[in-house]
């Protein structure tokens, strides 16, 4: 036993290095696993959702027939008949007298097509009697057909598009009238029964209102509470009790907040159902604990030497807090707030309980109008039987994720931009 200390150290080196390598490998593995899962999620969403970002459209030259549409009877008129007549003129195999064939033909265009034509003519009645070129979406089954989602080899009875309907479609396609266009309706339309017309406008505006209200309530209240608890409250049983409860509040399942909001905001206060105002207030309840915790951590992280310096020259407590501590804590507070708001943006359960999952076909003008939010819109679409909503659900999730990534990027940017060194 005449090993020197150096020998003993040398003998243990291998074991220590192995442990370190294992630790590194484990950490790297964990990160790779997380990225893999994220990659699978995004890939599956993109693969099913990318088709919703285009929409099959048809460009028709429509004669606005003065027989059907009369200037003195706008906006009423047989716009659907005008469109049908145009289609008949393009598809020779259709017999205009055959009711079944005509009905099938009308199903080719989206229900929104006649309204699009109507709006055009109402805006400019001089178009009556003229030929108008108009691009309208095809209805969902034909959209699916154009995107190759319907297999023509499936037995006809099991297929949504019948053989002769496929024939009409091919005829129009051969004339070069049908193409894939960027689906701007996805962002400019509100919800609709018809997948080809359904969009996220209502949900986007609803979410924006709800987040704005959530921020307006939770940010000042959260910061105020945190400043009081961190800077002014005495350390005793009461403040310990409050602290434990705030931490608990942050962990309460969101559906409970929804029930609370239903009982209090809608039941007692009589605020309207489905309104972004109520949604925002509900989300504020959830976001506030997050903001309080983040703000307290940020305030704690301000070095005590700065407080002492300010106190030392005779600053009062509020001058120390507002002049020095709060500005230095702001990056941390903003980061916490944005992460809290990002959570609120993705929150679904409480909004379901206050009715923000209603079917609403117009975007809200005020926070008191009925609206949906992005996550509840995803919920509604995921629940819809039409095939067209499958890809639209994925597309809506991608839109939501884009917003989340943007918000988190802003949080990182703010943190690095305003971080100060001392």
């Amino acid at each position: 036993m005449n090993d020197t200390a150096a020998d003993i150290v040398r003998q243990s080196l291998g074991r220590r290095r192995r442990k370190q390598t294992m630790l590194k490998a484990f950490g790297l593995g964990a990160i790779l696993f997380a990225f893999l899962m994220l990659g699978i999620l995004v890939a599956s969403l993109v693969s099913s959702g990318y088709k919703a970002f285009t929409q099959t459209v048809i460009t028709l030259e429509v004669l606005v027939d003065p027989e059907e549409i009369r200037a003195d009877r706008l906006p009423r008129g047989g716009f659907d008949d005008v469109l049908a007549a145009t289609l008949v003129s393009r598809i020779p195999q259709v017999d205009p007298e055959d009711r079944a064939q005509m009905k099938a033909l009308e199903g080719l265009l989206s229900d929104g097509a006649q309204f699009q034509l109507r709006d055009l003519v109402v805006d400019d009645p001089a178009l009556i009697g003229q030929v108008v070129e108009i691009t309208v979406p095809l209805s969902d089954p034909y959209d699916q057909l154009a995107k190759g989602l319907i297999d023509p080899l499936t037995p006809e009875v099991n297929r949504r598009v019948k053989d002769d309907e496929i024939g009409y479609f091919r005829t129009l396609e051969e004339q070069g009238l049908i193409r894939q266009a960027l689906n701007t309706w996805l962002l400019t339309n509100a919800d609709s029964r018809f997948p080809e017309l359904a969009g996220l406008k209502g949900a986007l505006i609803g979410s924006a209102w709800a987040l704005l209200i959530c921020f307006a309530i939770s940010f000042p209240l959260g910061i105020g509470a945190a400043i009081y608890l961190e800077e002014f409250a005495p350390r005793n049983r009461v403040s310990d009790f409050i602290e434990v409860n705030i931490n608990n509040l942050a962990a309460v399942p969101s559906v409970v907040f929804g029930l609370l909001a239903l009982a209090v905001f809608i039941g007692w206060f009589g605020l309207p159902r489905s309104a972004p105002l109520v949604g925002g207030m509900t989300l504020a309840l959830m976001t506030m604990p997050t903001i309080i915790i983040a703000t307290r951590a940020a305030l704690k992280a301000v070095p005590p030497s700065i407080r002492e310096a300010a106190l030392g020259v005779g600053a009062s407590k509020h001058q120390v807090v507002f002049g020095h501590v709060l500005p230095l804590a702001m990056p941390g507070i903003l980061t916490g707030t944005i992460i809290g708001l990002a959570q609120a943006l993705g929150e679904t359960a409480p909004l379901l309980l206050i009715g923000m999952n209603a079917f609403i076909t117009s975007a809200p003008d005020t926070p008191l109008d009925s609206a949906t939010a992005l996550p509840t819109q995803i919920f509604i679409w995921a629940d819809s039987p039409e095939r067209g909503f499958v890809s639209r659900t994925s597309a809506a999730i991608l839109v939501l994720l884009t917003f989340l990534i943007t918000m988190n990027a802003i949080a990182i940017f703010l943190r690095s931009r305003f971080e100060r060194k001392w």
Binding site: P234, G312, V313, G314, A315, Q319
Partner: protein, 275 residues
């Protein structure tokens, strides 16, 4: 205990004869000060008289209570929840712990410089201007400019920073930062300057600069400095107080403490046997 220098020891400690100034002539007069942090008795019956326009050094081993006592003089201990102070501390005959005394006003009169240079993460100008601004000491921008320049000159840093007043104070070197903090402390026109180990984070050159500065500051202020370095106490102070385990053991003219200590503990400390 009319004579402030006389020590109120708990045991049979010999009361050290002092050639103390009369109580009336002293700037700060503390009687029977006790400080508790929770149940820990940090300062035990300390009584001391601190003269105007003098540098008074507090020395003693770590944890002896010298910083704690210093922080009683501008009520910085108020910010610690568990700290309790009893006894009587008067500045210019006024009880600073009286109910009607606002610590804010007290701290404008009693400036403090801390152990670690702690400039605000703001410009050099704003660092110095902050105190006068919050107290409303400057009537105009020109006034404020003048206060800033005078304070920076007084802290012997004006020549180094006059061309970059808008640069961040945190970008200066350690010694410059500490002199900036001194400038910040004198900007509110205090009468007393408390310094809590102002050179412990500085290199020897910066230390000597700050020490020279302390000597100059004596003309206008009553300076109380806590220091770990006995050489520093000997160099800069006229009066020295030796603290040990919360007691004020000995308080006398600096040369006497270092050449002819009356108490065994003082002697042991200055000769390096305890500390």
């Amino acid at each position: 205990m009319v004579n402030g220098e006389a020590l109120n020891m708990t045991h049979t400690d010999r009361i050290v004869a002092q050639d103390a100034p009369a109580a009336a002539g002293s700037k700060i007069s503390a009687q029977d000060v006790n400080v508790w942090y929770g149940t820990a008795h940090a300062i035990k019956d300390v009584s001391v008289e601190i003269a105007d326009k003098t540098v008074t050094a507090f020395i003693g081993p770590s944890g002896c209570g010298k910083s704690t006592f210093l922080r009683c003089l501008n009520r910085m201990n108020d910010t610690i929840d568990s700290a309790a102070v009893s006894g009587d501390i008067r500045i210019d005959g006024e009880d600073i712990y009286a109910r009607d005394i606002d610590p804010v006003q007290l701290r404008a009169k009693v400036g403090m410089v801390f152990q670690k240079p702690n400039p605000f993460p703001k410009s050099i100008y704003d660092n110095v201007a902050y105190g006068p601004k919050i107290h409303g000491l400057a009537r105009s921008k020109a006034d404020l400019d003048e206060i800033v320049e005078r304070s920076l000159r007084r802290a012997a840093i004006w020549d180094e920073v006059k061309d970059r007043l808008s640069a961040p104070g945190t970008g200066l070197s350690g010694g410059q930062q500490q002199r900036l903090c001194i400038a910040r402390a004198v900007a509110t026109a205090p009468e007393i300057l408390l310094m809590d180990e102002p050179c412990s984070a500085l290199d020897p050159i910066a230390t000597s600069q700050v020490e020279e500065l302390i000597d100059e500051l004596r003309e206008n202020y009553s300076v109380v400095i806590v220091t770990h370095s006995m050489q520093q106490a000997a160099r800069v102070s006229q009066r020295t107080a030796f603290f040990h385990l919360g007691n004020l053991v000995e308080y006398a003219d600096t040369p006497q403490i270092f050449t002819n200590p009356q108490d065994k503990r003082t002697e042991s400390y200055i000769t390096g046997r305890i500390g």
